[in-house]
């Protein structure tokens, strides 16, 4: 399966724009969005609130009419088709179960509209309720179910009539942290079993990374990057994506290209990046912003360790799986705080100690200086 293999594409969004007009102003919610969703994949739209991910989803569902652009599903023009003709399953953020109907009737709703026989309705509802693991609840009303259970019924209701496409709009945002992790694995399992092409909207990058086949990172109505979770995390194409996904350190620096790149920091310190990725060796400019994940930063108790940055430990946070060190370094007299995640505590290092920070080159990346403005905290 390559990027240009069209045979796998089911949903194709071309140049989608959406402008919301109110009395006095207008908001460009979507700005020329193009996406291709492949058969059977779980595709996530990820971004902060207001980035246009929900608007994209609602255009796919048909609840919003795009201002321009087209949505094509398996060669069929979706753009002006009313939502109820699209054969889509959707799970809403609020679950939106029908409060006056029993769990059975909630799930059976789509089948009744499709006028299936009573036997088949019963059969299918039982099967799907078993798939989500809630056999005992059929006669109850939605209000008698817990949040997690309602969530699963919403999923069952959306899947029971074998939709061609499943849309999930922030389905986990109303659950508590532990249930959220459990439910996202459940969603993944059920989606795999049902083999349904799924578009998932979330603002939670950890959720997106763990559940998706591919992710589109969105910002201000535009798609910033599309790729697998690994690609997005390890090889972000802009500072903004790098900053939004996971934790990141950024350093203003200069690069000399020899056999191996040598990075000179504002403080005057120089580091030779070994095992550096292609993006750095091909870097044309002399100035840039170096991006390194916290887990690519290694701490040495010896402040004079060669090929490293000098800093002072400010805070040590024990997070269970990693130990996070907040280290202050000096860039041209301006203090900058950076993060370094270690697998375990570094022996002999306490808050206030001077340490050396080693930068592992293989996942470091250089961005042009102009992208600095994409950083909120810059």
């Amino acid at each position: 399966m390559t990027e240009h293999d069209n045979s796998w594409i089911t949903l194709s969004i071309r140049n989608l724009s959406k402008i919301f007009r109110s009395k006095h102003d207008q908001v460009q919610a979507l700005d020329d969005v193009s996406l291709d969703i492949r058969e059977g994949e779980l595709f996530t739209l990820l971004g902060p609130s207001g980035c246009g991910k929900t608007t994209t989803l609602r255009c796919i569902a048909g609840f919003e009419k795009p201002s321009s652009g087209t949505i094509d599903f398996l060669g069929r023009d979706f753009t002006s088709l009313p939502p109820f003709r699209r054969n889509i399953g959707m799970v809403f953020q609020s679950y939106a179960l029908f409060p006056h109907l029993s769990i059975f009737e909630n799930v059976a709703y789509g089948l009744r509209i499709r006028k299936l026989s009573r036997r088949e309705i019963e059969d299918r509802v039982n099967r799907i309720i078993a798939l989500v693991g809630l056999e005992a609840t059929q006669k109850r009303k939605p209000s008698e179910l817990s949040g997690g259970q309602q969530q699963r019924i919403a999923l069952a209701r959306a899947l029971v009539y074998d939709p061609q496409l499943l849309l999930l709009d922030e389905p986990l945002s109303n659950l508590d942290a532990k249930l959220r992790v459990y439910m996202r694995e459940e969603i993944r399992r059920i989606q795999q079993q049902a083999k349904v092409t799924t578009i998932y909207v979330t603002h939670d990058q950890e959720e997106a990374l763990s559940i998706s086949d591919r992710i589109a990172v969105m910002h201000a109505g535009k798609v910033s990057q599309v790729g697998s979770p690994d690609e997005i995390y390890e090889n972000p194409n802009t500072i903004r994506v790098a900053d939004f996904i996971g934790q990141a350190n950024f350093f203003a620096c200069e690069v000399q290209q020899d056999a191996v790149p040598v990075v000179t920091f504002r403080s005057g310190e120089r580091i030779t990046l070994t095992n550096s990725s292609g993006s750095i060796s091909s870097f044309q400019d002399r100035e840039g912003i170096l991006f390194v994940r916290p887990e690519q930063m290694e701490i040495s108790a010896d402040p004079d360790y060669p090929n490293s940055l000098r800093g002072e430990v400010k805070v040590i946070l024990y997070l269970g799986s990693v130990v996070r060190y907040y280290i202050e370094i000096f860039q041209n007299h301006d203090p900058q705080e950076i993060l370094a995640d270690q697998d375990r505590r570094v022996q002999g290092v306490v808050v206030g100690d001077a340490v050396a920070v080693l930068v592992h080159g293989q996942e470091a990346k250089l961005f042009p200086t102009e992208q600095r403005q994409q950083l909120d905290k810059a």
Binding site: P82, G89, S94, Y109
Partner: protein, 564 residues
Amino acid sequence: MARAIKQRLKSFEFTPYLVLGLALIILVVFIVYPLSKVVFNSFIELGDAPTLRNLTLANFSQFSTSTLYRSAFFNTMIVGLACVLFSCLIGIPMAYFVAKTQTPLKTFFLTLGTLPLILPPFVGAYSWILLFGRQGVVNYFLETVFNFKLPDIYGAPGVIIAITMSTYPFIFLLTYGALISADPYIEESAEIMGASRWRVIRTVTLPLVVPAIVAGALIVFMRSVGNFGVPAILGGNFYVLPTLIHFQVTGFFNLNAAAAIAMVNVVLVAAAILLSQYVTSRRSYVTITSTTQAARISSSKLLKWVGTIFCFGVIFFSLLPHLTVIFTSFTEGWAGTRYPNKFSLQNFRRIFEIALVPIRNSLFLATTATVIASVIGTLLSYINVRKNLRARWILDLTVMLPFILPGIVVGVAILVGFSSGLLILSGTWMIMVVGFFIRRMPYIFRSTTASLSQIDVAVEEASTITGAPWLTTFRKITLPLMAPGILAGAVISFATLMGELSTTVILYSARWKTISVAIVEYLFSATIGPAYALGTILIVLVLTAIFLANRILGRRMSQMFKMV
């Protein structure tokens, strides 16, 4: 190209536009059209063609030349202001006692305190004469025991007392609602700063409920300046604008003059609305947020007992006329004698001989109008809440207008609108149904708007995406979820239509007399017994409807009136 258009048409959903468009057309035909026509006609002299060239102020000139017109205007003002004043004097303390003191039987007071809103005031109006009139029981008793006589109740005092006793619940219930939802911490912080109990009430508690009191006062004013039944029965020569309108319509068949008086009546109401908005907007209030903390209750024993006696007194006094109606209906030929002496069912037997038709008419008209109001009101509130109309306030105002305007003005408008022109309905039952349904649709509109705004849009979208067209979603999801709101509005609409008088007197025809018209006719011909037997039947019908609705909806009556 043609195929593309065909595709477009196929994918377009017509049903919602068809159904909702129909509701809007009905709104225009039955509210906008007659109301604009009555405004226009008030500037046309009787007999002239309704053209722009014939516009004149002649119909209004009577207000400067005729003493009858002028006194009617001032009388209406006096009735309105006095009723607001007395309703506040009764309603505010009562709300305070029930909300803030250890007064027992709160549910009892709240329920019985709501009754006067549903029971038609004109039914009990004559009881005031029976009790406190010159020949009344109370006066007879006072005279023989203490050699003392009450001032005459006929005219202004009777009208004001009778209307006040039927309007004070607006002040009571609204103030009560504001008092129990006010943040108790605000009062506590005043107290902690050293304010005395009375000072807290004066400087904190009362100002916080002022918006509620103003809203209540506005409704009281609108109700009292628009009341026809009470001044018709108790007024005598004390004319108010609604009775003057009635006089013009039935006495002279001068609809244009009636329209002009109606305009003046409307101006009074509009002035009151503007004044109330001015009062509430001039002062800024802390938003009353409902906290989980229950309202703080005074522990004073004195207030508890004063409150109990006060509330009992008000409830007793306000229901006394209706109790008298029921009591009297079982007596023979009271009114002529000092005290009732013979009890029988004779009055009821007589009613079943002569008044089955009005009962049947009232049931038929009220039911038909309620059904229509429910259907149209529900659709309109759907448009109001779900469709992002830019001119939403126009829709809201148009639907609410017949509620704001005096009933007799609505009656005149409907009569003017449909006694000539394209659609002639005068003399039929249909014109009464039109008047009834537009006057009660606001109840349904308000209560369904409230229940619809609580339904998550996503629930309807979930149905749509599952494959349901608009109508299926509306039928299977939206309507069932709105049902409690529709039912609550429909019951109040039905119950109050059963005793509707002020629109009816303008629109009814000989074949279509209602219970209320029959009662008034009996009262005027001094056949008190049958009038009160019919009144008792009306009271029982109204209370049964409310009782059943309470059972089905499982809420208290006072809660059902939140939207009024």
